[in-house]
């Protein structure tokens, strides 16, 4: 065990400048990588917050539009249309399917109001 440690020590001592340079380079690289990661996380979190705010705004707008649409649907009633001078359609005549006439041709086969 001691011999192994001694051999390792000798080798390391002979190459101490090279090893120091490699270790410092590795630390520098990892520090830069760490800084990049932190920047990446921070910027993505900020972007997430921004998107979250936009989603909130859009969600609120959609909800308001849904409410307006439903309210408009409910306001279109026969009474409301009557205020604009519109009346419910009246059936002028009914042509039964069982008695089509040649003069009416295809229209007779529909059996709908004229």
């Amino acid at each position: 065990m001691t011999k192994t440690i001694a051999r390792t020590y000798d080798t390391a001592f002979e190459n101490r400048s090279r090893i120091t340079a490699i270790l410092l380079s590795a630390c520098l690289f990892m520090a830069l990588f760490y800084a990049y990661d932190v920047y990446s996380v921070v910027s993505k979190t900020v972007a997430l917050e921004k998107v979250s705010r936009q989603t909130t705004a859009v969600s609120g707008a959609i909800s308001a539009l849904d409410g307006s649409y439903i309210a408009l649907l409910g306001s279109v009633t026969p009474d409301a249309l009557g205020a604009y001078g519109l009346e419910a359609g009246q059936v002028a005549a009914y042509i039964p399917l069982s008695a089509p006439t040649a003069s009416l041709g295809g229209l007779a086969s529909a059996g709908h109001e004229l």
Binding site: Q54, A57, G60
Partner: protein
Amino acid sequence: MNSKQRFRTRLMLACVIAAGCVLAAKLYDTDIINGGAYAARAAAQYSKPSSALFDRGTIFFTSKDGTETAAAAVENGYLVYMNPMQVTDPQGDYQALSTLLPLDKASFIAHATKPGDPYEEIAHKVDASTSAAIQGLDLTGIRTAPETWRSYPGGTLAAHILGVIGEDGTSTAVSGRYGLEKYYDSVLSKPGVGPSIDAFASLFSGIKDSVFGGSAQRSGDVVTTIDPAVQAYLEQVLSQTESTWHPDQIGGIVIDPNTGAIVAMASHPTFDPNDLSSVKSNAVLSDPLVESVYEMGSIMKPLTMAAALDSGAVGPDSTYDDTGCMTVSGRKICNYDLRARGPATPMQQILSQSLNVGAATIALKMGADEYRKYFYSYGLGEKSGIDLPDEAAPLSGNLTIGADVDIATASFGQGVAVTPVGMARALSVIANGGYVVTPHVVKEIDYDDGSVVKVDPPRAGPVLSPKTVEEVKNMLVTVVDKAFRPGTIARTHYSQGAKTGTAQIADPVHGGYYADRYLHSFFGFFPAYSPRFLVFFYQVYPKGAEYASETLTAAYNDMAGFLINYYDIPPDR
């Protein structure tokens, strides 16, 4: 290697071992001894475990053209809160915030100066721009956090059908409490976003699910059969009728009798699920159309007539001796006006004049077993199976005893109690040609994984022959065309079958029935021989009128007219 190097080597080894021991000791201290304390500090990054952040599926209305509109959705916003222990200038903070939020000064100052209080909420449901402005103020101790809440864009529209959510009693998760929110809670519930307030902490709240996979629960959106325009009009008609007759309760159902799909269903009193603080009693949250049973009265007579015709006990041209009153098992049963119609009263008059003696006569002629068989075949002895929670079972146990008086009273809708939706289901049997459908308010579930499950309950039967159905329809069309006052509901080019019902209301205190309180009901379907819709109305104890024909005819007529125009239903005669 000389002795110095050997010494240094051993010294390094000793340092490494010592460092390892220090690390191990520190690990033990951090994880085992103080682990709980650190976990508590981490949890302190959250405001409190709360349901402020949740996700939930959307419930949609479906318009006639297939457009889906959100009836219940999750809305996003912000919660403004403060840490009173960090607030240094409550007055200044109030001055700054009051320009952006409506705040009560005394309340704000009281909360901001609470000693030892780490958390107080200032405002909820704040929009994004206001939240950004508050953050821009950079007030010490004042922060904003994302918040979600359940929003019902239609307000009171279809409130009973949609229901509400509430916090679970045992945890802080939200779950459906009434209506579709409760019935489809397992579908609508989604895995929580997590109660974190801090943005960085929230990044890690979902790591476990991301790495190990989320829960196996399938969640999605619920698409209803409710048309918002029809629903809105139905509720308007109910409001108008309610303002005229001041009933204790009023309700209506518009159903496709062929499929059981409910297009509109509402009852008053109602509530706004966006503002439960205005609800005075939780009883209003229950849907009486599903959860309450009533003795429906004379709208049961068409079902009795159909049963009698189908069983062969009577024919459409049969007659009976109407004496005005009859005694069954010692109990007197009389027509509404106590008048006799004579010995050759035709079957049609039982429906046209709503004759109790006639209904009882034909039911007794069928026999108890036969009548009971048809009564239950209409689905009146069981829950309808509607996809809404807490459905009440009908009260018809007295029919199993088979006493003549029970059969006689059931024939005109007294002595047995059914839910309004169960009654609509039974009446649909006549409208749709003899089949028992399952009423439903949901037509499909759209799961988040993209799959779509259609809700298409099967129908049972036929329980009536086509000949019987046609005969009863002819009678009900005659009721509309001849029995109702001219110009009320008959339409020249649209055949309609309809019947009113006026039932006595049971007196729970003194027994028997109230002398002056009635339940009014009305049902109609059109076009009679190929119906698109069946419309059912009821109201409990309307004031100022005795008979349903006075109080509900206008409501039915308005609703039928609206549906004919809205759906462009072609004439049939």
